[in-house]
């Protein structure tokens, strides 16, 4: 198997190396990739859409169909991960509890649990260690600032590197940080699976909804200049606002899907214990 693999790899590599003699030189401004549509994007982006960041204006306005289906792909991946792994069978036995006043830890081996309304016992994970004060305090301070930064990245995507996708991933990473520093159950209390599912579908719906709104108002799908019939903004600046709307939709969807995938992989679908 290893020799077949090596032979295939060397054959493919040799064919690709033979093909590189037709490639343009490094950094050539007149290469074929830079001479057909992209001069139009570079020159006309400020005039037609008033957005300085060329990557965001191409992604969310000139090629917004691609971005809508990319959001749909991310939503389907979150859905697939949830459907593959989710089980409702609880393990029998092996519950760990900690008595808060005396800090004694208990390991209960059979299937009976301590009822939730007894306030002195809290349930802990299998791999819990008692040295977690510094991690919990630092993460409790850092998480609001990470979320604020995520909102900034989404909102400022028109003028600086950023955009909906990057901001959504940073927000999702803050939820994963909450799940790792505290308990998985703490993160699930804040956003349970129903809310996460609704949020991830809401993002795609917002994107397609803005497109349908433009179509209802008389233009083609995702033609943002038709929105100036409703809002009192001129047709060039309304395209920047339409882009902001779809980027918010992308950010919401991506945030929910990152949290769904992490919660289901780290707990093997049972959603009670994690990393």
């Amino acid at each position: 198997m290893r020799y077949i693999g090596l032979f295939i790899v060397i054959l493919c590599g040799a064919l690709l190396l033979y093909a590189t003699q037709d490639f343009p030189a490094w950094g050539d401004p007149n290469s074929p990739a830079s001479s057909h549509v992209s001069p139009h994007y570079i020159q006309k982006s400020i005039e037609e859409t008033s957005v300085p960041n060329l990557v965001t204006s191409v992604l969310a306005d000139y090629r917004s169909f691609d971005t809508m289906f990319e959001t749909t792909v991310i939503f389907c991946a979150g859905l697939a991960c949830l459907l593959l792994l989710r089980t409702f069978i609880q393990e029998r036995g092996n519950w760990y509890y900690r008595h808060i006043p005396t800090e004694v830890t208990l390991h209960i081996k059979d299937a009976r649990r301590i009822p939730k309304d007894i306030k002195d016992f809290e349930r802990i994970d299998t791999l819990w260690v008692p040295y977690d004060l510094i991690i919990k305090t630092v993460c409790r301070i850092c998480i609001p600032f990470i979320q604020l930064f995520a909102f900034y990245v989404v909102a400022h995507g028109d003028f600086s590197p950023g955009g909906g996708f990057q901001g959504g991933v940073i927000f999702g990473a803050s939820l994963i940080l909450l799940a790792i520093a505290f308990d998985l159950r703490t993160a699930i209390e804040r956003l349970d699976e129903f809310k996460l599912g609704v949020l991830s579908a809401l993002g795609v719906f917002l994107y397609a909804g803005i497109g349908m709104l433009c179509m209802i108002l008389g233009g083609s799908f995702l033609d943002y200049s038709q929105l100036s019939k409703i809002f009192p903004v001129d047709p060039v600046h309304i395209r920047a606002l339409g882009m902001l709307g779809v980027e918010i939709g992308v950010g919401i969807s991506v945030m929910a899907v990152m949290a769904i995938i992490y919660i289901n992989i780290a707990s093997e679908g049972r959603q009670d214990e994690g990393l």
Binding site: F23, V55, I74, A77, C81
Partner: protein
């Protein structure tokens, strides 16, 4: 023959990208462990993204963000020269590629956790042996 050779040596950066792609392909074919196959898949994907980004580069050009454009109301004040800005089109296509790669990675890791729950191993030859034994 000599200038054919010199022409190939000029394009050494494409060589390195092809070597990286072939490392990823080799890991996907030859390795037995499922997690290593996934790492190989991701190496292949990021090497292809690197290749596309290197096509859009222009010598002595700046980032694809128009300078001095914040708050400008009449676009005729800005003289935009297309040779001064890097081509933004490969960047846009590769953003979609990164998103798709992380979605694929999430589903593939969920599948490998399920495989481990069923067969208690992640090595491909042991899985094949256990499938054959369980179907006898």
């Amino acid at each position: 023959m000599h200038e054919f050779f010199m022409e190939i040596v000029d394009k050494y950066n494409y060589w390195l990208y092809i070597i990286l792609m072939m490392i990823g392909l080799y890991a996907m074919i030859v390795k037995n462990n499922l997690i290593k196959k996934l790492v190989g898949m991701n190496i292949f994907q990021t090497a292809i993204i690197l290749f596309y980004i290197s096509i859009g580069y222009k010598e002595d050009a700046t980032l694809p963000i128009i300078v001095n454009a914040h708050g400008v109301h009449s676009p005729e004040e800005l003289a935009i020269n297309t040779a001064e800005y890097i081509n933004p089109l490969p960047h846009v296509l590769m953003l979609t590629a990164i998103v798709v790669s992380v979605a694929t990675l999430g589903v593939a890791l969920a599948l490998s956790v399920k495989v481990y729950q069923q067969y208690k191993t992640l090595e491909e030859d042991e899985i094949r042996m256990r499938i054959r034994e369980s179907s006898l």
